[in-house]
Amino acid sequence: MTKLPKLSDYAEEVQKCMRCGFCRTLCPTFSSISWEAGSPRGRMQLAKAFLDGEVEFTDYIQERIFECALCGYCLWRCPAGVKTIDVVKAARAYMLEHKETPQSVETLLANLSGEHNLYGLSHGMRSDWLGYPWIGLKDKVEVGKKGADVLYFVGCICSYSGKKNMTGKATAQILTKVDTDWTLLGQDEWCCGDPALLSGDFGRALEAARHNVEKARELGVKKVVTSCAGCYRMWKQEYPVLLGEDLGFEVSHISQYIVEALKNGSLKMGRELKSVVTYHDPCELGRLGEVFEEPREILKAIPGVEFREMSKNRYLSKCCGGGGDLKVAYPDLSMEVGMRRLKEAQDTGAKTIVSCCPACELQLSDVAQKNGVPLQVLNIAEIVARALTP
């Protein structure tokens, strides 16, 4: 296991900031906050001032730090290569240590601790979704099957969102259609730890990594597939770092899995879906995970779908406002950020916006509903499931 980082470890990192301001223009929250301290450059300068002893952590700094959506735009844009979002996470870790974390985030962390899910719902309900009448998977999948090739790591949102999110069902349909030998962790699945990591609770994230990886290893699977961008990034990028070792199995996002299946012919999309569709890159899959093309390849391959790109896409894609604790700590700001993204989607003339992350999808649906925007929001697995050749 590697040493968990502290804010003081980033003293040299913040010194690297050239204050060029490239991070400001498309920062999703700075566009609303508009004060320099609410820009990534401002956050780096505040972290530096704190580390230099020039300022204490104040409520104002707490707000600026927790307003960051951790979308990674500044990280990608930064000419000097400052690890901006790591600094923000480390600042959050410092606040957590000093009991200065916003109450709503503390509640989230308590939920993760007690029930191993985002919502604080009973851990015992984690597999209930399989038996919901609109899912109907209870007896169709063998949970905890040793020796299965693929483990589908469901994630909190698909497990606990009821009818609001059908990604789990669609993913299961696809895995079954491909004739994969697949399984689930069921009650052995814990939250991936991403919300903890983003809140600066590195210890809890490490605990989640240890638990989930151990359970996957016990099953002896060759591959872990996720349908959530956050879960994907945790398994793919963070777990090996947190644990300080190679996981010993592959990790794929469902979009990558689908592309592979389309290429080898084990999956066919023969049903025509007449729709104009745009695609929202989830920050954790796109900019931070560098998976850009697979979802686009899929959408372009669906018969009848007319794919239209939003003006800000791939590395420049704007955050939906649902990530990095923003929705938890500052829901109004999160809505504003989300509305800007939906506006871009509307400008394409699309009727459907597809993404690869249940968190983005819930957020975009929420924003659309509250603002009366007539856009359908779907996960990539859902739209593929609809297009599958019967």
Binding site: C20, E36, A37, L46, Y60
Partner: protein
């Protein structure tokens, strides 16, 4: 030395009355972050206001003028010269919230924008019509049109399109007494009156506050043909650029990076396979059928200067990567050491090789471990950006940087008839050099003009054009 008024609670209250409490701040956290730009200076203001209308700007100026409070306009805060810093305290006027594109008039080839519009944002909008605003500073993702006007920013395309000054038709500005005036004309030609527009462009916020800008715009080139060449010495590279200019060919850009900078930039942009050496980029733009032959002519002309490597492309994506690699010179160098200070000299283009060779010798002359230098720029304009990389926290290195500046300007640039700034402005960092460049009489005249506009010297004090103040080096 001018005696300024004391920033008081009553002034703070009045500012809040003008802009509303949510657009005013004197919180320590904001004062800290507004204390810096991209230069190495730190100057703490007393307060920051973010106006949304010209009327608010006018009221703020009246108040500041009445109480003799310094007022410093700021756009994206991207300056590498300390221009938007509150060197003697005062109010930072953050213009970045006045960021509306008010009109795009393609038929008359002009646009009207508020000062806080970001350069790339404007060009993203114009691209939808096949048009653009050509000045292209490397800071275009973040710098504002107001900032570009105030510094007369230029960039890679100056050889063909000139600098910001050449594209400004008219300005709406607020004088220090709060009066709002329009300079220039909203038509494409005018010989009427003194050219106040050209006076204010490049004045670094020392004469008036720019609130609205009328710009000319022009169609985007239909196609590009681009070549990258590597030379084993800067003299041959420079001679090659001169030859192209002499032949009357006007590419979009002719850009260079010295060997050290090219290595860092190409690594940064992940462009592989080029041999080490001095990098020259020739980018021809225009009609589809003309750009290839134009580039052929350029390449035929430069052959006699024996480039060790030559590659050409009409692939747009690769061309953009090459241009971006050149634009990434500063950031790429910034990864080498904790502090990066970019200079901005201009010499007659034919003297560029002499200047470049002398610049390369500066680190050895300084003899201080930990300070080094890269060099890149606009070879066709004779505008170079020697960039010192060091650690400002190490006193010896910081002192060496200032000594390096002195060598650069006193011993290299001015004796060659050059200027200490091609496109960044004097700011704080080059305030010591303006008199060396123009002489006492010319500078006195500039200061008289300054006093005519701003009798109480409240606008952006301490900068080259608003002085006289000694350079703050702490």
């Amino acid at each position: 030395m001018v005696k300024y008024g004391k920033f008081s609670e009553s002034i703070a209250e009045k500012l809040q009355d003008i802009v509303g409490p949510e657009y005013y701040s004197d919180r320590i956290e904001e004062l800290i972050v507004y204390s810096r730009d991209s230069s190495l200076f730190t100057c703490r203001p007393d307060a920051i206001v973010r106006p949304m209308t010209v009327e608010q700007v006018s009221e703020i100026l009246k108040l500041a003028n009445e109480h003799l409070i310094p007022l410093i306009p700021r756009g994206g805060g991207t300056s590498a010269s300390g221009s938007p810093l509150a060197v003697v305290g005062g109010i930072i006027l953050d213009m970045s919230s006045m960021n509306r594109i008010l009109s795009i008039d393609i038929d008359n080839q002009c646009v009207t924008v508020e000062a806080g519009v970001v350069c790339d944002t404007l060009n993203d909008e114009l691209a939808k019509f096949g048009f653009f605003f050509p000045p292209d500073p490397a800071s275009s993702p973040a710098c504002t049109i107001g900032g570009m006007v105030n510094t007369n920013a230029a960039g890679n395309r100056t050889i063909k399109y000139g600098s910001t000054r050449d594209w400004v038709l008219w300005l709406e500005v607020v004088l220090p007494n709060g009066e709002v005036i329009n300079t220039g004309s909203k038509v494409l030609k005018s010989s009427s009156g003194f050219d106040l527009t050209r006076l204010i462009v490049g004045s670094e916020g020392s004469l008036a506050v720019v609130t609205k800008v009328g710009l000319r715009v022009t169609p985007l080139p239909e196609a590009y043909a681009t070549a990258v060449l590597i030379f084993d010495n800067i003299r041959s590279l420079s001679a090659a650029a001169t030859k192209i200019r002499r032949a009357g060919i006007v590419p979009e850009m002719i850009e260079f990076m010295n060997e050290k900078t090219a290595k860092a930039s190409l690594d940064y942009a992940k462009i592989r396979g080029l041999p080490p050496g001095n990098f020259l980029l020739i980018d021809c733009g225009g009609a589809k059928e003309s750009v290839g032959p134009m580039l052929d002519r350029c390449l035929a002309l430069v052959k006699e200067h024996k480039p060790i490597y030559e590659d050409r492309t009409q692939d747009r994506a690769y061309r953009d990567r090459l241009v971006n690699a050149r634009k990434a010179a500063l950031p790429a160098l910034a990864r080498l050491r904790p502090t990066t200070s970019m200079e901005d000299l201009t010499v007659p283009p034919t003297r560029l090789p002499d200047a470049a060779e002398a610049v390369e010798k500066i680190p050895a002359r300084l003899g201080v471990e930990g300070i080094d230098l890269g060099n890149f720029g606009h070879v066709a304009d004779g505008n170079m950006h020697p960039t010192f990389v060091y650690d400002e926290r190490v006193e010896e290195q910081k002192a060496a940087f200032f000594k390096g500046m002195d060598i650069l300007y006193r011993e290299i640039v001015f004796p060659m008839g050059g200027s200490c700034t091609g496109e960044h402005g004097i700011g704080l960092i080059r305030a010591d050099y303006i008199e060396l460049e123009y002489g006492k009489v010319a500078v006195a005249l500039m200061r008289s003009i300054k006093q005519l506009f701003d009798p109480n010297l409240i606008l952006n004090p301490g900068k080259g054009k608003g002085g006289p103040y000694p350079l703050r080096r702490e």
